[in-house]
């Protein structure tokens, strides 16, 4: 694979992605790409298909078709656990903290998928609340702490493509600020990030590009440079 040596090679390229839950056809040909080190957002109203897009990339929906190309590998037919080992970290919308595991067990649960992950000590330094509560039951944490745990546990695995689903949802402004700082730090470290976000003010300063999803399709792609002139149209699309 000669293309793998191109520095700007897409970390992820999704084309003509269709996905179903049972008989319901949810995604209708999603197209977007993220290059290594970029942060992009998926925007859209409730029920547009943002979560489904992330889940379809990981093979967590029902039937799907089209192409999901990860670091030059076509993974549309791969089982979910193999996809993770290409360096993908997933932070689900409902956070997915395990109640039967302690904070620390949650933190070290996901297997290493690449070298170069952060150590538990580094993560505790980054999220001091987690260090204090390491022995607590995972779901005894506050909403904000659970969100930090959900982020921290995928940073330990060495994953360098992060799929983050509405990480600011329902959190206090200070915690949103904290997560913004974390994402900024991750960007400078070269992580590739796909951010599903309702909080556009949070996402805008961080993102290289925005994709707007409507009814299971990408209807608009707006780069950071185009953003000021497209702001009104975007607000209309999102209904904010």
């Amino acid at each position: 694979m000669t293309s793998a040596f191109r520095p700007d090679f897409e970390a992820l390229q999704v084309s003509n992605l269709h996905a179903y839950y049972g008989e319901s056809h949810i995604l209708h040909g999603i197209e977007f790409e993220v290059r290594r080190g970029e942060l992009i957002t998926l925007l859209g109203r409730n029920g547009a298909g943002k979560t489904t897009t992330l889940r379809a990339i990981l093979g967590l929906t029902g039937r799907r078709s089209g192409s999901v190309n990860l670091n030059g590998q076509e993974v549309i037919d791969w089982p979910t656990h193999r996809i993770a080992h290409l360096g993908v970290g997933y932070c689900p919308e409902e956070r997915g903290i395990f109640a039967s595991l302690s904070v620390e067990e949650n933190l070290v649960l996901p297997p290493q998928v690449r070298s170069g992950g952060m150590s538990v000590e580094e993560l505790y330094a980054m999220f001091p609340n987690l260090a204090e509560r390491r022995k607590s039951q995972g779901t005894r944490l506050s909403g904000g702490e659970q969100q930090m745990l959900a982020m921290a546990r995928i940073l330990r695995t060495g994953a360098n493509l992060l799929l983050l689903d509405e990480i600011t949802e329902g959190l206090a402004p200070v915690i949103v600020q904290k997560l913004g700082d974390v994402l900024g730090a991750l960007k400078t470290r070269g992580y590739t990030v796909i951010l599903v976000e309702q909080n556009f003010r949070f996402a805008a300063p961080l993102a290289d590009r925005h994709y707007v999803i409507e009814h299971g399709k990408v209807v608009e792609c707006i780069s950071r440079e185009q953003l000021p002139s497209r702001m009104d149209a975007l607000h209309q699309r999102l209904g904010v």
């Binding site: 990981l58 967590l60 089982p79 979910t80 656990h81 193999r82 993770a84 080992h85 997933y90 689900p92 997915g96 395990f98 109640a99 039967s100 595991l101 067990e105 070290v108 649960l109 996901p110 297997p111 998928v113 995928i154 695995t157």
Partner: protein
């Protein structure tokens, strides 16, 4: 000292007998709980797999010269491997379907396995000799406890508590707990969940087979031994609540004791007391004593 005019030694003796029965309930309901937790399947073949354990041990002595101690290791491995084969070829096709299909399939498998053994060996029991070193009895003061029965209690306690410790304290156990809660997310983290499911089913079946080997010298080896016992075990599981590991162990032992006590206090009720408790628990706490309310 007497209680309800029943001599204390008689009570203690029945409690010990209850503890022996409880050991089997605990081993079997533990396996059922582990399987149900991860696979969401009520393994109706559990009784047949317990019977297979006893029969394979008997084959071992009859045809291969495998002694009891070797059987205690080899039989669970063999029957567990057979369980994994069932999981890969049959059960795995049903995970996307309603739970009812898994129940029907394992129930059907139980009928087939038992039917084949009744055909081949009839319904009468085959004796299995108690190992040399466990013959004789211990004098407990209030009763003579056959050494072999004492060993059954110890062995099943060790295996149950060992399994519980592995599940609660190790990384492997953390995978099992996480997979029980949300197997999709665990797989999204890169854990080979399909493989884990196969191994977990194999482990649950191996526990049943282990109980079968333990039972062989006590109850004789017969095709129906599983179906008789498993009905009580399902009641135990309902009382304890599906999916709680420690709950299944504690409930199994506890109900064995209750059954033993009933035998001295009101012998006629000893066969039904567990079902009466089950009915009461279902009325008051439908999710079971240790189960989580949905």
């Amino acid at each position: 000292m007497d209680f309800l005019n029943i001599p204390l030694p008689a009570i203690l003796a029945q409690l010990v007998v209850g503890l022996i029965n409880g050991s089997f309930y605990a081993l079997l309901s533990l396996g059922l709980a582990i399987i149900f937790g991860l696979l969401n399947i009520i393994n109706f073949a559990h009784g047949a797999q317990y019977m297979l354990g006893a029969f394979v041990a008997w084959f071992g002595v009859q045809y291969l010269g495998v002694n009891y101690w070797a059987a205690l290791i080899l039989v669970p491995l063999t029957v567990g491997a057979f369980g994994m084969l069932l999981e890969r070829t049959l059960l795995s096709r049903l995970y996307r379907e309603d739970h009812l299909y898994g129940l029907l399939l394992t129930f059907g498998l139980a009928l087939i396995i038992e039917g084949v053994f009744v055909q081949l060996y009839g319904v009468s029991g085959k004796p299995y000799a108690t190992p040399e070193s466990l013959r004789g009895a211990l004098n407990l003061g209030f009763m003579f406890l056959p050494k072999y029965r004492a060993w059954v209690i110890v062995a099943s306690l060790v295996v149950c508590l060992g399994s519980w410790l592995i599940i609660e304290r190790t990384k492997l156990g953390a995978y099992l707990r996480a997979g029980t809660e949300n197997s999709q997310l665990l797989q999204a983290f890169g854990v080979n969940v399909p493989l884990m499911i196969t191994l977990t089913y194999g482990f649950g079946v191996a526990l049943a087979a282990f109980a079968g080997v333990l039972a062989a010298p006590i109850f004789q080896v017969s095709p129906k031994m599983g179906s008789d016992l498993i009905i009580v075990v399902f009641a135990v599981v309902v009382i304890g609540g599906m999916g709680s590991i420690l709950g299944s162990i504690v409930t199994g032992l506890g109900l064995g004791l209750v059954e033993g006590l009933t035998k001295v206090i009101w012998p006629q009720a000893s066969g039904t007391v567990i079902f009466v408790i089950m009915a009461i628990v279902l009325l008051i706490r439908p999710a079971g004593l240790f189960g989580k309310e949905k």
